[in-house]
Structure formats: structure tokens, C-alpha cells
Symmetry: C2
Subunit: 341 residues, 2 copies
């Protein structure tokens, strides 16, 4: 037998990759390692940026220290954490950048995994599948936060902050993070946090208390469509902000028109509505892939038909707002629509 | 209220992204869209490179045509497929490149999702969790193929092909793809495909029949460790190849030493053993992230402790092979070890 099986000694060379493939392998690994951290409850230690021991994280998470230590060693091997000589770990300097990128994978694959795993059921019996295979709210919230902290919350925060608005209502406020940051920035500000989820409302009340702004934050557990009957939570607001919540009601055209009209009328003079949401199938090369996934999953797995950019704009205009602006945000397909009273 | 809420008309500018973040969003979207294709059974139409209608794919997959059409439209929007005027779809020109990159995400997040989803259980009760939350064999096989077609199968194929070996045994042959390609390349070649899975053995027999090489391929349903008692399947082989199967038995040092010794003795004069497998925590910056995930998951979720590169080499040397080479492969942390009789 001939061939290249030479009788030389050990040869070990370093690997070479196509750059895109290396990026893919790196991102896949980072996303799964960080998602596991979120599952274990070790993410808040990493997020803090402070040093901690495996024992501290294990105690807080109610897990065996050995297993948490193994996990943290893997993070160090992956350049996501550093360990000092005393056995204390902390997140690597670029941890927040890596977490942002990982957020896209965690949202796309992990938060939506029930859709992926049961894709055939969703195509054959969408209503039945939606009932049987719901997403996990915590996984959706965590991955949305990882993306949103860089890719859509800053746009709303900066806009509302710079507007000088003092009375702010957040529709679909979740745990109240964005609104509380705005209250912390200016002691003259007060806010109303509206959410349909009682767990989210509880979390918002607790977060407001921790931040020392409980006296300036009213939390109300309601669906946004209830504003049509009782606009109390938006009455007199100088800014009404809504992140990825309007798409839940946008398909019901008469209702959405009424909701926008209610908000416009209730706003204080000079007030505005700041809506962050996604457009259907954004065509730009920089956006088209992620926007395609986002649009497709919402339409076929969540029964949410997103409007195109121009359709969103037309809805705000038709509700009588005096001007409407569309500000693209870093998350592909996302837009900040600002509609002035 | 003062601020930047100008009374100008609609402003819409194109988005700007940090390049890494755009790459992350793109890769996340591509991976989930292709994984959904694999779940739906539409992947083989895309893989073929040929044109097809939504109806054809839907009929073959046993799914409603409307739902498959929606999926294919999303692929077109994401630049992963093209549609012609007659409503026929085909994969985009760079589909195979994108599928390779997506494979890392699909393996890391989708194939391993039971580990991610139940990470806490694996840390508290590894044995119980392993029994309760097994991976889906099809998802593991599909994502491994997407990666392997570019990142480790070509290395083995080329090495064995160029060696001129005519009698080839594949340990852990799965559906026999690699071995059948080698048989198709040279009509003088014959092979033995060994696998522990009866489903894999059935698939290998069917694939061999389809490829017209059934008369030159023997399929045997056995665990690799059985070779120690009965080396028949490797007896007289000029090449014995084994892709990511040796790590299943490497932790049992006496058994693995016996297995290597058995292979060495059974090989024809001038024959060799070609083992593709992963090393523990590869330190190179180009490999460390994915290698960390791969190593960590195997050790903590699959009870497989990978040897370091030098430990693998030492095991081959100790079994009496006359030379051992280590050839890094494109998948981070993977190596082709070639041990000559």
C-alpha cells in the first residue's frame, strides 16, 4: 500500500479557519455557555462585573459548588471570564459585547425553541400547537434584554430623556427597568408602568422600591387595549413609550386606531408616543436575514402579522398625530416610531 | 416641554450596525431558519440544489402547502433561497456555506437543547438527568453532518483516499456516508461499516444499495469495544477510520489500550488507524471558545472526559503504533490522529 502515511514523528500544526466559520463556532459556543449561565442562575454574578467564588454563586443558585466551578472553568477556557489566584472569578472585559451578540442566538434558538422543536405541529395545527408548546417567559425576557440593552432600549431612553418629559407612561413595562432608569435620571419625573402580567407588575414594584423611586412610580396591571375604555394611565403623560407591545394589537385595525387615538388625546400638549417595534420583512441587506426570521416566527408561530414600515407610519398618521418619525434601531428590522401630539 | 421632538415629516434612514452584531443576528437567523427546514423535512429539497415547488416539498413532508410556502418565502426574504417567476424555489448559491456556519449553532444549541433546558438537573443529578433528558439522535446527526461535511469528514476522506487503501473499516459508521463515498471512488475498494445502532445500520444498508455498492459493503451492528473479543471487522483492514466514536470508550484506559492494540494487530501490513476526535480545552485563540463548550458539555452532560492532544497521542504510542501524526481539522478542537501499524 502506497500513500502519504509517512513514518515521521508527531506533527501538530495550528488550525486554520475561514474567518466566517470561526466566527460562527465562536458565537455558537458563547451563546450556549451564556444561556447555560442564565439557566443555572450564575448570570447575575457575571453581569455584576464583580469578583465572586464558585461557592458564592452555587449557594445563591442552590447548586453544588463543584458543578458551578466546572462551569466557571469552562467560561475561563472560552475567554468569557477570568480567575484570579485566590479562586475568584469575574466576567471578562468584553463580556457585555459578547452577551449582546449571544442574545441574538439565545432569542432566535433558545427563547423560540418550542417553535423549532414542534415546527411540524405549528404548520399542521397552529392553534393547538400554540396552546401545547408555549415559550418560556423567562427565556424570552432574558434574551430580549441581552439584545435590547444595546439594540433598542437605548434609543427610547435617549429620546425620552432628551425630550425633558416629566410624566412618562410605559405600556408593556415588564419589570419596569427602562422607566425606572428614566426616573432615576431626574427626581422631577414620575411614571406609570402598565403591564398585563401580574408577575411583571410585582417585579416592577420590587425594582422601584430597591431603586428608591416607589413614590414616583405607579404600577397598574392591565392590558394595553383597556386604555380605550379607561385612558387613566396615559392621561396627561408627556411621553408614552411602548416597546414590542403594540404588535400584539396592531392586527385589529379598529381597535388599534382607537388605541392610538386615545393615546393622542390623553397626551399632554407637546407630548409624544414613542413606539419601538418591528417592521415586516425589512429588505435592507443589513437587516433582511434577522428580520425574515422575526417576521416569519411572529406570523406563523405567534399569530402576529407585523405591518411594513410604511403601514406602521400610516396608522400613526391616520390617528391624527401632527408628525411621525421613523428611527431605525440597531436590532435588524426594529424601528422607533415617534408620534407627536 | 422642550426637546428634539421636531415637527418634521417622516424620517427614515438605513440602519447601522457594529459588524460583529450584524454577523451575530444574521447567523442566529440563518441557523434557526435552516433548523426549522430540517424539522419540516424541507432540507433535502434545499440540499439538492434543484428547483422545486412548495407543493412538492409539502407533499413529500406531509405538510400543508400553504405553510411550506410561507417558510420558503421567509427563506427568500433571508437570501437563503431564490424563487423564479413560475413559483419554483431553489437554495441560494451560497447555501452550503451558510449551512456549514449554521451547523455550529444548530449543534451547540439545538442538538444539545435538552442539556441547556435542564442544566440545573444535570448539575444536581447528572445520572438521573441524562436518563430523563436524552438528546434527539436526528438533530445530533443533522447538525454534525452540517459541520462535518466541511470541518472533519474531508480530512479523513482525503487521507484514506490518497493512501490507496482498498480494505476499509469504519468504526461508528452511522449511515455509512463517508465509507460509501470511498467505495464509489474506487471499484476495487471494499468496506465494513460497524455501528452500535440498528437504525444506523439499516440506513447504511439502504444507502449502500442506492449507491450500488451493497456487494462491497458489509454492515455489522456492534459496539466498538466488542472488537477486543472478536476483531473480525478490522481483520486485514488497510485503513480503519473512526469519527467521534473513540471518545466513548477512551475513559476506560485498559479497555481503550486493548482496543487500540487489537486494531494495530488486525491491520494489514502498512495499514493505519485514522481517528477523528476532539481534544480537551484546546488553548489556541482560534479554537478555545468552541472547544471549551464541546469539552464542557461532554464532561458534564455526557460523562465523557476528553483527553488533551498529548494524552491522545500517548495512548496511540503506548499501543505500539510505529508512528502517530496529529492533523488539526477545521472544527475547533478536532484532530485527525493517524496511527500507522
Amino acid at each position: 500500500m502506497s500513500g502519504p502515511v509517512e513514518k515521521e514523528d508527531v506533527v501538530s500544526t495550528s488550525s486554520s479557519y475561514e474567518p466566517a466559520a470561526r466566527g460562527a463556532a465562536d458565537l455558537a459556543a458563547v451563546a450556549v455557555l451564556l444561556q447555560i449561565g442564565a439557566e443555572l442562575g450564575v448570570d447575575r454574578f457575571l453581569d455584576s462585573g464583580d469578583g465572586f467564588t464558585a461557592g458564592q454563586a452555587a449557594d445563591a443558585a442552590g447548586l453544588p459548588a463543584g458543578g458551578v466551578e466546572e462551569y466557571l472553568r469552562a467560561l475561563v477556557a472560552a475567554d468569557l471570564a477570568v480567575a484570579d489566584a485566590a479562586g475568584r472569578y469575574r466576567a471578562a472585559a468584553d463580556y457585555a459585547d459578547r452577551r449582546y451578540e449571544a442574545g441574538y442566538v439565545s432569542w432566535a434558538m433558545s427563547a423560540n425553541y418550542p417553535f423549532v422543536e414542534h415546527a411540524r405541529s405549528f404548520l399542521t395545527d397552529p392553534a393547538g400547537a400554540a396552546g401545547a408548546h408555549p415559550r418560556d417567559g423567562r427565556r424570552v425576557a432574558v434574551s430580549s434584554r441581552w439584545v435590547g440593552e444595546r439594540a433598542f432600549y437605548p434609543g427610547v431612553f435617549e429620546y425620552v430623556s432628551e425630550s425633558g418629559a416629566r410624566r412618562i407612561t410605559d405600556l408593556g413595562a415588564g419589570a419596569g427597568g427602562l422607566l425606572i432608569r428614566l426616573l432615576l435620571q431626574d427626581p422631577a419625573r414620575s411614571g406609570v408602568a402598565l403591564d398585563i402580567s401580574s408577575a411583571a407588575c410585582d417585579a416592577a414594584r420590587e425594582a422601584a422600591a430597591r431603586a428608591g423611586v416607589a413614590d414616583r412610580l405607579e404600577v397598574t396591571e392591565r392590558p394595553i387595549e383597556s386604555l380605550v375604555e379607561d385612558p387613566g394611565p396615559v392621561d396627561g403623560a408627556e411621553a408614552v413609550q411602548a416597546c414590542f407591545v403594540m404588535h400584539d394589537v396592531v392586527a385589529d385595525e379598529p381597535l388599534f386606531a382607537k388605541l392610538l387615538g386615545t393615546c393622542r388625546e390623553a397626551l399632554a400638549p407637546g407630548g409624544f408616543l414613542a413606539v419601538v417595534d418591528a417592521v415586516s420583512y425589512a429588505p435592507d441587506p443589513a437587516e433582511r436575514r434577522f428580520s425574515a426570521l422575526f417576521t416569519y416566527l411572529h406570523a406563523n408561530f405567534m399569530d402576529i402579522a407585523l405591518p411594513a414600515e410604511e403601514q406602521w407610519l400610516e396608522k400613526f398618521r391616520a390617528a391624527g398625530f401632527s408628525s411621525v418619525r421613523c428611527l431605525p434601531q440597531p436590532m435588524p428590522g426594529s424601528r422607533l416610531f415617534v408620534a407627536a401630539k
